[in-house]
């Protein structure tokens, strides 16, 4: 076992898969010599050569199209989009092409592509870099959307994503890259996609969340426990598909739930979780299911982001409304 940051765990997973399968290709803007702007691909070009790990010309749409074409040639592309705020440039390749590969060809073609990208906020990037666009991806049938909340999950989930036969959007929260370390096994392991993780068990309230909000929710749970509330925290790990079974059995036990996302409130993942709960477990509920989310604006300018982003304090406040309902 080694103590790793999330970025190290991601590099480790990429190295593992480059070794494991000669069809795995890692490419994108500045991923070669530079090792990526966040250093996720540090040392990989040196170790595996320019044939397997390479820089592309600067064009997100080009990177997406290349991934489609390489998958037609039987490769397993793992492209990087430098910042997920740039995803709009490659939306046609993702939603218009990759997501439809199997469907359009009656299952003849498929796209085992894993698009990795830093997302989320709280690290004072220039405008249009930070954002939480997982809802946009989750709305597209044909894609799986994976969001690790820490180093251990990042490695296991990334290996599973790369081995998946269909396109996966793998979103890496920028604030989690280096904010803490965890024990990460040096050998390979997988974590199944579509399976949530109960981070902490409890009986009075379920907090359902993912990504950087997992730690905020755990902090909030600690706060609430001090006041005598037993709180369960569920990390979705995959926002599409949702692990409905884990969500529902938790809510049937606690009878109260809140859903926490860093993304803006309108539409989105949390709304979908609330819908699943009300459709499947309304008779178990003792209170409305409330959401904690960012306000419905464009992701704000760097100096204003910390007042805009939801955090433990907002989670406690909303949790109390539900607990005291």
């Amino acid at each position: 076992m080694a103590q790793m940051t999330m970025i190290q765990a991601i590099t480790d997973a990429l190295r593992n898969e480059l070794k494991n399968d000669e069809n795995v290709l890692v490419f994108g803007e500045d991923v070669g010599v530079n090792g990526g702007v966040f250093r996720a691909t540090e040392g990989l070009q040196k170790e595996f050569g320019e044939d397997r790990v390479f820089d592309t010309p600067l064009a997100e749409s080009g990177i997406g199209g290349l991934a489609v074409g390489l998958s037609l040639q039987g490769f397993r592309p793992v492209p990087e989009i430098q910042f997920f705020g740039f995803v709009y440039e490659v939306m046609d390749s993702i939603s218009g092409q990759l997501a439809r590969m199997s469907f359009r060809s009656a299952g003849h073609f498929h796209a085992p592509v894993t698009i990795r990208s830093p997302f989320g906020g709280g690290v004072a990037t220039p405008e249009m870099h930070a954002d939480s666009l997982e809802g946009l991806m989750a709305q597209q049938p044909g894609l799986k959307v994976v969001i690790p909340s820490g180093p251990y999950d990042a490695k296991g989930l990334l290996i599973s994503s790369i081995r998946d036969e269909d396109p996966v959007i793998f979103l890496e929260h920028m604030k989690l890259y280096r904010s803490f370390r965890e024990e990460v096994p040096e050998e390979e392991y997988t974590i199944p996609l579509g399976k949530a993780d109960v981070k902490k068990e409890g009986t009075d309230l379920s907090i359902i969340t993912y990504g950087a909000m997992v730690r905020e929710s755990l902090k909030a749970a600690e706060e609430l426990e001090k006041e005598g509330h037993s709180v369960e925290v569920i990390d979705l790990r995959t926002v599409q598909p949702l692990d409905v079974e884990t969500i529902i059995s938790s809510v049937e036990k606690t009878n109260r739930a809140i859903v926490v996302q860093e993304a803006q409130r309108q539409a989105g993942v949390a709304a979908n979780v609330v819908a699943e709960i009300t459709e499947r477990a309304i008779l178990s509920l003792e209170a409305p299911v409330l959401r904690v989310a960012a306000p419905d604006t464009i992701y704000p300018y760097a100096q204003g982001e910390n007042t805009w982003l939801p955090g433990a304090k907002d989670i406690v406040e909303t949790a109390k409304k539900v607990l005291e309902f």
Partner: protein, 371 residues
């Protein structure tokens, strides 16, 4: 079987011939001597002094911005040293009515086009007052999405055409930007509509870490304009007179109905891509750095102006001191900007009627903020 005709058509030869025509234009050599009299734009003494003043001022702005960034007082910053001729001589060829669509490194041009310096600093810091462009300043915000400004420039240019305005649009991207689809769409649309646009590629050799050689097989970036059917030139981007001359010519052409022009300015960024952790020693050698520094735009322009008796150390020091004072004053103003609130963000979301969800959230956040 018919005999194969030898070299009836040679596409490789065709390509070579086109590529060979793109020689780098230069007016002022590295020693500050005029090497191409025919191309000398014939700037007045006053104009020469003003352009030199702007270049020195901007070099100081770059140095101060880097140090302010290191002190945590600036936020996002993309260094400009090495690109002063490319940025400022092209902007100097414009009139106030001309519209600039800058890339994220092109802050000096928009400051000289009228954006108050404290607003440029606030934009860097990530404060929305920085982006609230004063009325009458003909610029768009520095573009973050690489290449997006190119196709937008075609739109502004078409708008000017439809309104019969006697002015042009100028936009800037880098060598990396020429790989984006928006780049090709921009030059093609402006060509198709024959719109008054000037497209500048500041080829500073690296897109973050990726060298120009990995962007394209094309020998020059300027030649990309040929496919769009628009006049295209390659110019020494560290030579202020050459940059001014080709921009001025492109502007005249556009105003006279000749349509868009593509200009590649060959230059170098001395600093990192941005101050957010980029380390150029990972992808460039110090030998390459010093090769380019020998071509420095300030050195050659200073020599030229000195030879004409227009510049001396005293004058330069005056400009340096003035720049430092202005920067200090602008930072002070930027420091006084009010803290951004969530209600501020909600309030600027829509120009028209506020949707219900935003109204509801505005009430909630306003109440919280007043506590």
């Amino acid at each position: 079987m018919a005999q194969k005709k030898a070299n009836a058509f040679d596409p490789e030869q065709n390509l070579r011939e086109i590529e060979d025509k793109f020689e780098m234009l230069q007016v002022l050599n590295e020693e500050g001597e005029i090497v191409n009299k025919e191309m000398d734009p014939g700037m007045s003494d006053e104009q020469l002094t003003e352009l030199m003043t702007r270049m020195v001022w901007t070099r100081i702005l770059d140095q101060r911005s880097i140090s302010l960034n290191r002190q945590g007082r600036l936020g996002f910053y993309a260094p400009t040293a090495g690109q002063e001729a490319s940025q400022l001589a092209s902007q100097y060829a414009l009139e106030k009515d001309d519209f600039i669509l800058p890339g994220y490194r092109d802050v000096p041009q928009i400051v000289f086009h009228g954006l108050p310096l404290e607003q440029a600093f606030l934009w860097s810091r990530g404060h929305f007052h920085g982006s609230d462009v004063p009325d009458g300043v003909n610029i768009f915000l520095p573009q973050i999405i690489i290449g997006a400004q190119y196709i937008q420039a075609a739109g502004v240019a078409l708008g000017k055409q439809k309104r019969g305005e006697k002015s042009v649009v100028i936009t800037y991207t880098g060598d990396g930007g020429t790989s984006q689809g928006d780049f090709y769409e921009g030059i093609n649309f402006a060509g198709a509509f024959n719109s008054p646009a000037i497209f500048i590629i500041q080829n500073n050799q690296y897109a973050i870490s990726t060298p120009r050689s990995l962007q394209t097989k094309a020998k020059t970036l300027a030649q990309k304009g040929i496919a769009a059917g628009i006049p295209s030139v390659l110019v020494d981007g560290m030579d202020p007179l050459a940059v001014y001359a080709v921009t001025q010519q492109a502007r005249e052409r556009a105003l006279n109905g000749g349509g868009p022009t593509l200009i590649e300015t060959m230059c170098y960024r001395y600093g990192p891509h941005t101050m957010a952790g980029d380390d150029p020693t990972r992808y460039r050698t110090s030998e390459t750095d010093s090769e380019w520094e020998k071509r420095d735009p300030l050195i050659r322009f200073r020599k030229y102006l000195e030879s004409k008796g227009l510049w001396n150390e005293e004058k330069e020091n005056e400009v340096i001191e003035r720049a430092k004072e202005e920067i200090k004053a602008a930072i002070k103003k930027a420091d006084a900007a009010p803290k951004q609130k969530v209600s501020d963000f909600l309030n600027i979301m829509y120009r028209g009627e506020m949707p219900e969800n935003v109204k509801e959230q505005l009430d909630i956040y306003t109440a919280k903020e007043s506590k």
